[in-house]
Amino acid sequence: MQQNEFIKIVSPFKDKLFRLAKRLLVSTEEAEDATQEVLVKLWTKNETLSELKSVEAMAMTMTKNYCLDQLKSKRASNMTIVHNNYTDNQASLQQKLEDEDSLSWVEKIINDLPEQQKLIIQMRDIEQYEFEDIAKILDMSEATIRVALSRARKTIREIMTKTHNYGIG
C-alpha cells in the first residue's frame, strides 16, 4: 500500500482517534502524540490492513488501548499527571473568567467520569457510533454498554442540574 492510499483510508477517522485520545489523556499534546503513535503502528501493519473488515474499529481499539496503557504507566510513575492537571485547570479557569462557558463544564464532568463511561460517551454521543460498533471496539456486550451509557448520561445530568442550581454554570 502506498502512503497516499494509506492517508486516504485514515483521514476520515483520524480526528476521531484524536478526540478519543484527548478524552482519555486530557492534554492536547499527549493526545496528538498518541494519535501519531497509533497511526504509525497502523502504517507498519500496512499489508494486513486490506484483510480487515473495519480499519476504523481496529484503529479505535488501538487508540483506546494505547491511551489506557499511557494512563497506567503515568499513574505508576506519578509525575506527569500533576503537570497535566495543572495545565488543564489553567485552561478551564481562563475560559471560566472569559465567558463562563458552560460547555467546558460539561467537558469537565465527562472527564471526571470513569474511563469506561468516558469512552462510551465519547463514541456514542460525540462520534455517534452504533452500539454494535462500540461493542466491537470495546469488546463488550451491547447491553453492558447501554447500561454504562445510561449511567454516564444520568451522572452528567445530575451534576449539571446541581451546578445550575448553584448558579455557577
Binding site: 492517508i7 484524536f18 458552560s102 460547555l103 467537558e107 454498554i145 445510561s150 448520561r153 444520568k154 445530568r157
Partner: protein
C-alpha cells in the same frame, strides 16, 4: 416539533435507548433557538457534544519512511563493509596459500630436487662440525698415550 415527543426522547435518551437518528433529532432541537424553558438545562450538554465533534487532528502523520530508509541504508553499508573485510582477508590468505602451494615439492620436481639438496647439504654441514669437534678427542688420546707409555 412536538414538545412531548422531545420530552419522551429525553427520557429514552437517559435510559440509553435512543437510536442515532433520535439522538440527532435531539441535537437539532437543542441547537435551535426556541428551546422550552424547562429543557434549557440539557441544551449545554447537547451543545457540548456538537462542539466536541469539531476538534480536529492537525498534526502531520509521520509515516516514518525516512527512518526506515536510514535503517535500510545503514544495513547495506554495514554488509558492504563486512563483505569488503571478508573479501580482503580471503584475498590475502589466498596469496599466502598460493606461495605455499608453489613451495610444496609435490607440485614442482625441480624445486623438490633443490630443496632436497639444500636439506642434505645442511645435514652434511652439521655432520662435519660434529666430526671436527670429535677430532679433539684424538688429541687427548695421543697425549695420554705419550704420558702413560706402556
Amino acid at each position: 416539533m412536538a414538545l412531548d415527543r422531545i420530552e419522551n426522547l429525553i427520557d429514552k435518551y437517559f435510559e440509553g435507548e435512543t437510536s442515532i437518528a433520535e439522538e440527532n433529532e435531539l441535537k437539532v432541537y437543542f441547537s435551535s433557538t426556541d428551546v422550552a424553558q424547562h429543557l434549557k438545562q440539557y441544551q449545554t450538554i447537547f451543545g457540548y457534544f456538537s462542539q466536541a465533534k469539531e476538534q480536529q487532528f492537525t498534526q502531520e502523520i509521520p509515516l516514518q519512511t525516512k527512518k526506515r530508509n536510514v535503517v535500510l541504508w545503514l544495513s547495506i553499508a554495514a554488509s558492504v563493509v563486512v563483505m569488503l573485510g571478508v573479501g580482503t582477508m580471503m584475498y590475502f590468505n589466498n596469496d599466502k596459500e598460493e606461495q605455499f602451494v608453489a613451495c610444496t615439492p609435490e607440485d614442482n620436481p625441480e624445486l623438490a630436487l633443490q630443496q632436497t639438496e639444500k636439506a642434505l647439504a645442511l645435514v652434511s654441514e652439521h655432520l662435519n662440525t660434529g666430526i671436527e669437534s670429535v677430532s679433539y678427542i684424538n688429541e687427548y688420546e695421543q697425549s695420554k698415550n705419550r704420558i702413560f707409555k706402556k
